[in-house]
């Protein structure tokens, strides 16, 4: 899951960027509202962590524009402003959650997972597909009753395919959901991870649509 962090404070932004990555997210960090608006237009984020007091474009105004443009990405406001009126205004402007600083990184990660889950219409914190289940919070995958050891990137790839089960995702789409800005992506990285997943699970779980991309069928039972 790729998260956009919008925070103008250097130290806190850095902590969110690294801390959420430790929690299994891919993170991009921007420090003002305009940069955030650009990033949200071009990149597929699973959720946004939004500070309110932002340079160039206020957090609430950014949120208003985002919702007016029909963007449904889950947004968690993380701010120092704690009066009730501010919380109400934040949520009513279109935020999905409102947290007053300081915030616990694990709690923030859990809230982001919950919001991402809900965004896909799911309530169950465990993604299930026949004999395959994936627990984002525990970073655990089991297949046919056995725990399967996956690398972080393989796990993220499997999660994206499961969340979007039944839809074909292009290699480029997958790359943009798996890699934050500035990360080195080898041209065949996705192919390599798909190959590993097929080997560790079962070959037929992930289908290749030649010339288009990859897909996990909804009825991928054996």
């Amino acid at each position: 899951m790729r998260i956009l962090i919008v925070e103008d404070d250097h130290s806190l932004g850095e902590a969110f960027r690294v801390g959420l990555r430790q929690q299994g997210f891919e993170t991009d960090w921007v420090r003002d509202g305009i940069a955030a608006a650009h990033a949200l237009k071009t990149e597929p984020y699973s959720a946004v962590v939004l500070d309110l007091g932002l340079p160039r474009l206020e957090g609430l105004e950014l949120l208003r524009r985002l919702r007016a443009a029909g963007n449904k990405v889950p947004v968690v406001i993380v701010t120092a402003r704690d009066p009730i009126e501010d919380r109400v205004r934040g949520l009513d402007t279109g935020a999905d959650d409102y947290i007053v600083k300081p915030v616990d990184l694990q709690e923030l990660a859990a809230r982001l997972r919950a919001l991402a889950r809900r965004a896909h219409g799911e309530a169950d914190p465990v993604l299930r597909m026949g004999d395959l289940s994936l627990e984002p919070a525990a970073h655990r995958v089991t297949f046919r009753g056995q725990t399967v050891e996956l690398q972080a990137r393989e796990f993220a790839l499997l999660q994206e395919l499961m969340v979007n089960a039944g839809r074909v995702l292009s290699r480029e789409q997958l790359e943009r959901r798996l890699y934050a800005w500035g990360e080195e992506v080898a041209s065949n990285a996705v192919e390599v991870h798909i190959h590993h997943l097929r080997r560790k699970l079962a070959p037929h779980l992930i289908r290749t649509v030649r010339g288009v991309g990859y897909l996990m069928p909804r009825d991928a039972h054996d």
Binding site: L12, A15, R31
Partner: protein
């Protein structure tokens, strides 16, 4: 407020009562005294005239009828008759005629006009006169006690109403004083009942014109307190808000360190925890500085101070840190700059200015600190070669917690607020402009020179 005060305070009511009743009583008594004296004088005159008239009557009668008057049977015709007596002496020696109550010897040794005598232990007022032939001496007398009794009656008539009226008057005065001072008491109670934080204006409907100014000044005081409380409240809220983000960063960095997979990752997070602590410590100390400066009225009474020495000291203190950042500091000053002020505060001002300049200076640039004399003022300027501040944002510099957005340099957003406050305490003004060649920021603080420094001609027009 209700505790017994060691100082005895006069009651306004009592003072009014005593003054009013006392004054009325004294004036009344004085009037009564004057009336009494005047009445007694007139009664004396009148009675003397009667005495003289009676003597004249006797003189007129002595000529023809004296032989026929029975000396023993002069009748008493009035109840006061006993108090009035007469004697007729032939040649002043033989008593030929007298009233029943007259003594047998002369009433007065005087033979002409009025005299006061005592005969047989009784005081008499006597009028003596010779008849036309100087044959008979007529003496008419009246008991002095009669006159005293009349005078006493007059006096009593004057005093009795006073004795009745004064208590009545006292009651009336008391009532009107109580009524008149009630608005004061109401005001006192209204102030006393007040919650310490209640600063709404007092509403004493229809306060008399004497109390209205007091109510007005109390209300203006409440207004000023309200501003102060609001100021405090906003300051506290701002401070709490400003502390939240660095504390959030600290907490998040600590969690990052705990969850770090590698030593280098942990090390980096812990470094950030440390610098976060420094940042919070800096913010707190800046907040405290500002809070301590808040109640200070002026720093100009604390004596004279050599601004040049302060500048040298602060530049020397901050130079190592600046050089470590690859920023040069240069001090260029007049030989002497005496101003009225507190060296410790001026050092805080300079430290903040230079610290700011160094903070926003790129590598290999220069921070210039200059101290000039100009028309009775000393002009302290700190100029950096950083990216500067756009003119529309310059007016906001010095607002509490205002920071230029997007600047990476850590800061509390309070430095220039502190500079402004300290300048204000020294009667100095702060201006922001661009640095030389349109680059960077120049902060200028203009201090008035001390009169001595001005007269010694050091800060001459240059």
């Amino acid at each position: 407020m209700t505790e017994a005060s060691p100082v005895r305070r006069g009651s306004l009511r009592r003072r009014l009562l005593v003054t009013l009743i006392g004054t009325v009583a004294v004036i009344w008594l004085a009037t009564a005294g004057v009336s009494y004296l005047d009445a007694r004088h007139r009664v004396n005159e009148l009675l003397d005239a009667h005495l003289a008239q009676s003597a004249a009557l006797l003189v007129a009668q002595t000529g023809q009828e004296l032989e026929e008057i029975d000396t023993e049977h002069a009748p008493l015709l009035h109840k006061y008759g006993r108090r009035v007596a007469f004697q007729v002496w032939e040649h002043g020696e033989a008593l030929r005629l007298h009233s029943v109550n007259a003594p047998s010897h002369r009433l007065s040794s005087r033979e002409d006009g009025f005299s006061d005598t005592t005969v047989d232990g009784k005081s008499w007022r006597v009028f003596s006169s010779w008849d036309g032939d100087h044959h008979y001496l007529i003496q008419v007398a009246e008991r002095a006690s009669t006159r005293e009794r009349i005078a006493a009656d007059i006096g009593r008539n004057l005093l009795v109403p006073l004795l009745i009226a004064v208590p009545l008057l006292g009651l009336l005065v008391w009532l009107s004083v109580v009524r008149g001072t009630r608005p004061l008491l109401t005001l006192g109670q209204a102030v006393e009942r007040r919650d310490p934080l209640d600063v709404a204006p007092l509403d004493i409907g229809g306060a008399p014109s004497e109390i209205a100014p007091l109510v007005a000044s109390l209300n203006s005081l409440f207004g000023r307190i309200a501003t102060l409380i609001e100021h405090e409240r906003r300051f506290t809220a701002d401070a709490a808000h400003e502390l939240r983000t660095p504390i959030a960063a600290l907490r998040a960095q600590a969690q990052v360190a705990l969850a770090a997979a590698s030593d280098s990752e942990r090390r980096r997070a812990l470094d950030l925890v440390l610098s976060g602590c420094d940042r919070i410590a800096h913010l707190v100390s800046q907040l405290l500085t500002l809070a301590r400066l808040e109640p200070v009225q002026s720093a100009r009474q604390s004596g004279n101070c050599e601004l040049r020495a302060v500048a040298k000291e602060v530049v020397a203190e901050l130079a190592p840190a600046a050089l470590a950042k690859n920023v040069d500091i240069e001090l260029d000053t007049v030989p002497s700059a005496m101003i009225a002020g507190e060296p410790a505060l001026l050092a805080v001002l300079l430290r903040n200015l230079i610290d700011n300049a160094v903070r926003y200076s790129p590598d290999n640039t220069l921070v210039r600190v200059t101290l000039d004399a100009r028309d009775g003022f000393f002009v302290l300027a700190v100029t950096d070669q950083g990216s500067g501040v756009s003119p529309d944002l310059r007016s906001r510099l010095g607002e509490r917690f205002f920071r230029i957005v997007g600047s990476d340099a850590p800061g509390s957003g309070l430095g220039l607020s502190i500079v402004r406050r300290i300048a204000e305490l020294h009667g100095a003004s702060v201006q922001f402009a661009e640095g030389s060649g349109g680059k960077g920021l120049r902060v200028t603080v203009t201090f008035p020179a001390t009169p001595q420094a001005r007269s010694s001609g050091k800060p001459s027009a240059s």
